[in-house]
Symmetry: C2
Subunit: 871 residues, 2 copies
Amino acid sequence: MTVKKFSLALGLVALALLVAVPISTLGQESGAASSVEMKLWVRNTLRDILVDTPVDGDTVTVEIIIHNTDGSDKKVDIFLTDNLDQNWSGKNWTGVTVNGKGSVSKKFEWKPSEKEYELNATVKGDIRTEVIKSVNVKGKLPESNMVLIVPIAGIIGLLFAGVMTWWVLKQDTGTPEMRKISDAIKEGAEAFLKTQYTTIWAIALVVAGVFFVAIWLGTKSLEQGWMTALAFVLGAACSSIAGFIGMWVSIRANIRTASAARTSLNLALQIALRGGAVSGFSVVAMSLLGVAGIYYGYGMLSGDPRLTPLLIVGFGFGASFVALFAQLGGGIYTKAADVGADLVGKVEKDIPEDDPRNAAVIADLVGDNVGDCAGRGADLFESTAAENIGAMVLGIALFPILGINGIMFPLVARAFGLMATIVGVLVVSTREDGDPMAALNRGYIVTTVLAALGFFVATWEMLHSYWYFAAGLVGILTSWAFVYITQYYTESKYRPVQEIAKSSETGPATTIISGVAVGMECTAIPVIAVSIALFAAFKLGEIGAVDLGIPALAGGFYGTAMATMGMLSVCAYILAMDTFGPIADNAGGIAEMSQQPEEIRKKMDRLDAVGNTTKALTKGYAVGSAALAAFLLFSAYLEAAQLKHIQLDKVDVFIGALLGAMLVFVFSAFAIKAVGKAAFSVIVEVRRQFKEHPGIMNYTEKPDYGQAVRIVTKSALKEMIVPGVLALVLPIAIGFFLRAEALGATLMVGTISGFLLALVLNNGGGAWDNAKKFVEEFGKIKAKQLRDNPEILAEMKQRAPGIYEDLMQKARDSPDDTLIFGKTSDMHKATVVGDTVGDPFKDTAGPSLHVLIKLLSTITLVLAPLFIGTL
Amino acid sequence: MTVKKFSLALGLVALALLVAVPISTLGQESGAASSVEMKLWVRNTLRDILVDTPVDGDTVTVEIIIHNTDGSDKKVDIFLTDNLDQNWSGKNWTGVTVNGKGSVSKKFEWKPSEKEYELNATVKGDIRTEVIKSVNVKGKLPESNMVLIVPIAGIIGLLFAGVMTWWVLKQDTGTPEMRKISDAIKEGAEAFLKTQYTTIWAIALVVAGVFFVAIWLGTKSLEQGWMTALAFVLGAACSSIAGFIGMWVSIRANIRTASAARTSLNLALQIALRGGAVSGFSVVAMSLLGVAGIYYGYGMLSGDPRLTPLLIVGFGFGASFVALFAQLGGGIYTKAADVGADLVGKVEKDIPEDDPRNAAVIADLVGDNVGDCAGRGADLFESTAAENIGAMVLGIALFPILGINGIMFPLVARAFGLMATIVGVLVVSTREDGDPMAALNRGYIVTTVLAALGFFVATWEMLHSYWYFAAGLVGILTSWAFVYITQYYTESKYRPVQEIAKSSETGPATTIISGVAVGMECTAIPVIAVSIALFAAFKLGEIGAVDLGIPALAGGFYGTAMATMGMLSVCAYILAMDTFGPIADNAGGIAEMSQQPEEIRKKMDRLDAVGNTTKALTKGYAVGSAALAAFLLFSAYLEAAQLKHIQLDKVDVFIGALLGAMLVFVFSAFAIKAVGKAAFSVIVEVRRQFKEHPGIMNYTEKPDYGQAVRIVTKSALKEMIVPGVLALVLPIAIGFFLRAEALGATLMVGTISGFLLALVLNNGGGAWDNAKKFVEEFGKIKAKQLRDNPEILAEMKQRAPGIYEDLMQKARDSPDDTLIFGKTSDMHKATVVGDTVGDPFKDTAGPSLHVLIKLLSTITLVLAPLFIGTL
């Protein structure tokens, strides 16, 4: 099998790179001399750095470079002082002319006599003046060859995605009935995406234009204006393309998965996962290539590697922008179709899920693709882009010591993670009677171990410090922690779901009450996990600061950046597992609608159940990484806004914080409402079809699936506008009226509230969903069976320890025939209400909140220069 | 009628005081000389103050006072410097011995030659040393006679409560059947309160002991230890007594209201309101007397009016402590009984609300008293105490300029508000066919106008500035804004409730979804209202700062304190309206259970509906005042913790913020779960009674009400422990491990999250409740009626503009007899689910969150001294 060999070869290349790149750079000792050099940059984006390593007795060469970013010539004076007040008198450098876009430099020798020293250079004159204290290690700034892995890994990642696509496409496409359904899904999904992207890009171009003008006028720099606007457009484009590729494959993988299930569970599993992997690889590779490309491109234009990260924040904002609307629109679509189909189908007409007589059923299957696949892809593209850029901005502060390494490290770590994922995806296989979830977990373990290995190599080679590897490991562990925490709160074998199931005995109201309580309760452990991770990563970074020769505080911040990078290094695998979900779900739907034999449908159900689990886990991972990254993005914002602190005790800052928290709630309200409104339009349509075409119910007429798809599309896109625009406009308004510090509070408190509310919505929704599945799983159990059949009771005792006693009590009190448990029992009806309520929570509002959190970070980063100072 | 005359006389006294007190103090010009005096206090609780009023050419007398709060003698040196570096050389004062508990003083003359000056005194030696900069106006510190109104108003308030109690008690107590029911409620409520207070006090005494030791050891001051502990016990005691008095009267007013309804609606209204007023007056008067008493008591002991506010924060914490458990226990009780009674009664057995066959019905009526009456009483007692103390702490910073006036002003403003409320309560009356709500509103208007008048007099006399009156007016307007906002979101004539009613057409799931969306959406306007109020009050305070001769920043903070005081000045009336609710509700229950004629029950229903409205408004008012006060309490915390700022970009501070938001969600989860668990115990009991005593259903046997009451009591008190202890322990743990600044972030972000979540829970719950009532109000409407009866349609069009079209459509599609609207229709069943879900939201978790927010403020204020500096 050629493809297998080819992809194996790719995997080997990836493995080889994991080993070869570090070896190739061995022996290249990147400078760490003991004398010291100082650079003075006119644009102050640095925080103060005080080096406390001893250079006693050494001569320090201080180089003053004045870099004029403005177009016209400037005249300046430079005054030098040091804390020892010894050698500098008379060494001032006055009457210097710096040409427009040019620079001048001069070197001074200095011999500090004590261990602790501090050098201070003041520049006065035409240029915006600021005082900068900065001392750095002399010699060529360190730059490891390892940064080469970034483009290599990006290209290999895209190649691998291509191979996987080719492999998936050449699989069997099943029976004509299957193809008919699959074609309908394909058509619906592509139509939606086309309309959605048209809408998004119409808004995006307006936004790009407005930003160009605003930043141009606000910063008085045409260059910064067009660079930010172009970066925005590129970010939006990369995100759109990555989302499109992922969905393009997934709507083709679904039918192949269904078809493969007729012969081999393993093949079906592999098609679904590899189809999903296309999404994962496109997202991460595009993000690597995009960020690195624009970084180097702008770097060449600006001539200063330190100015670039702040110019490319527009890329992250472009990604956020697309993600916001993709996730909102997709999320509204998927749940409107789902809720609408369920309410008319299951509740009103009493026909099963995915029944071909339901006109909304194709729309429902389309929804899985546009919400979970394209939406989550855009979400994680945004995460990787925004967090890379955030870490790069932080790297600027360390530039004097770490050089390009400090800025490029995040991309290198991600590149290794991508290589590791290739191997991880390829090792996944299962036996016919195996547990598909276990197979996916094996792949996850392989990916994690290899990614950790790569992370180790990268930290060692580029940062020369174990401590930062340890900080990265904290991030990797956090990703596992979030996966397990999410499982605990949403899987039926644990207490929370059983509690909900138990409360469904007393009807839908108590089901809802206990689900809300579970959702709120489940904020505790994730918050504690993130707190521990941040604290540990910060402390490890502080300790490691000595290795790097940077101040402890800067080291601590960099430690949290490492943890974020560690958590995100397995991102491609997580995304592959996530996209596995809608593919398996769709394959199940195709099998159901094309009326495949029971045995195949059972097989699909197993894959579908695994897909539900992976979807839930991905959400846990996404929200966890957003929370971990938040702290990193806060410090990037402070850099960008030239703020030292956000002080909540100022009245305008407090108001900014209040509004940030409010934005989260109001945005969620709109997202949830949007589902209700769009679902209502579906319900009306399906009802109309049933009424006008009574033949549908007895299979003599076919429902018009296309019309239902068109109605959801129109309605979902209409409803995404208000919350989307709110999320864009409120931060801008706050920045404009209350200025940068208040906007920082909006960002921070909005992020905290958003993180918690997303947890509540995701986990509450997931728990309701599984409580319903839990009640369904056992099959129908009647009172007499439970009383007289010891086997059923034994199974109950084992699998439902929390509720079997209540059920037995009820069974004793009820006539023989009363349905105590299982589908259509009163308990089941109550859990169906819970599930329906949870749908817009966990698949629309929750995931949109992840995106909102990151959008807040990127929009504030981009606009920070406009809101500096008071109005 | 003697009583009427007596209370009229009291009202006149109150009115007279409103006028007389200011006149009595006219002409007493409280010192504002242009020379300056400095005092040096060894304990630094002051922020730096720079006076920018000109004193050019004046001689300044600086008096240095060293006050030794320790028991043993100390030897110190004092060094003086000023920013002009002119007159002070050689004016140091060295080798001074200060006896234990004694003080020494010395005067210096100083003639600053420029307008801006700054004087700096350093004390070194045996005493804990700190640098203090402080300049104040010379002469006797201003102290207005108006502070005398505080004890006078407190005593008049208690007298008025006594008169109201007497008047209520002498009303007719109705028929023996009524009395039987009323006695059962009384017995249940008193038994609950007894058990509850026993539990609370057991914990309270432990807490007091622990705090005594912790503060003693932490601050190394035995005095501070016992003073804080004693203040805590006094606060807890005052709160308990106020809650007890209020409930004692309300469980006696209920039967009298029911009995009065047989003859006069006006009399019933007046009994219910005046019974409620006892609660309002006890709470506010006890709070005034308690805070003022302990302030003067401790002031005499410490000898320094500036140290006292920080010693009496324990009083606020004691009040918070009782409020937390009273509101939690009461809230759990009331909703466990309500939900339990409903689920067995209405849902399982299909018997109406308040049906005497339901064993839980007495427990339900008891619950109204212990939750809404005792619980909310404790809540607002806490508000008034905590916010008074917060404003007083802020007053310390202004002490050098405003003297005692700055510290005592909050109490004076409250005293005027209390007097105003006497008049407001007395003017409420209605005609037999009048609208009781309009009558209550008239009283509210009268109270507001008189309170504003009093506020004007107090600001003018004590602060000599219109601007601070304007800031207070902002607060008064905010209280009206919150009342109207709450009405909009929870009353059936507006869009939100109609939206929920509309979505109930598609079943309980959509009812829940749209209720949650309404809850989240409704955070927007309150947040904006609070933001505007804070901003306006701050700006007004900044402008007014010139009048006072204080720095603009300090003036701004004081402006927000004024707004809080303004909002709280009508507190007694609001509380009277709130307690009106359970009295009317209970009276309705008594009428129902004693099977009174239809006409009387209708009359009671009208009062009951008004009660529901007032209860909802009070919650809006309580949460709004908590939010407005939050900012004030933050700055008080900064004073107490000797912090300049809370910087969210530090890792430990960010973790503190995350944990604060988490606390809010987890606490709510526990509160909501507690209702579920306690309700389940009621359900089991009522089911048992129905099963073991089949005669209950056909009225041949009487259910055992007492047993149900005992079970809810036990269960509610058990369930309140975990969330209560969590709320106490988490802040302590954060303070201990992460220190004062992180704890500040916990306080701030916890408060913001708590405010928003409380809005979501209160308004969402209220909207569901009224959506149900809305569907019930019209009576039952069948399809044929709606199609053929133009009158019904017209009424629908007018009162339900949002949904009549859908209903018409449904009527056209359905057979004649289908129930389209009204009780027992499918829509109604869906709204009942919403109402049941909303119950623990709006009556347990939401109100408990108000208390939690304020508890966070008081506990952090009390413990701040322990967490200063790093571990």
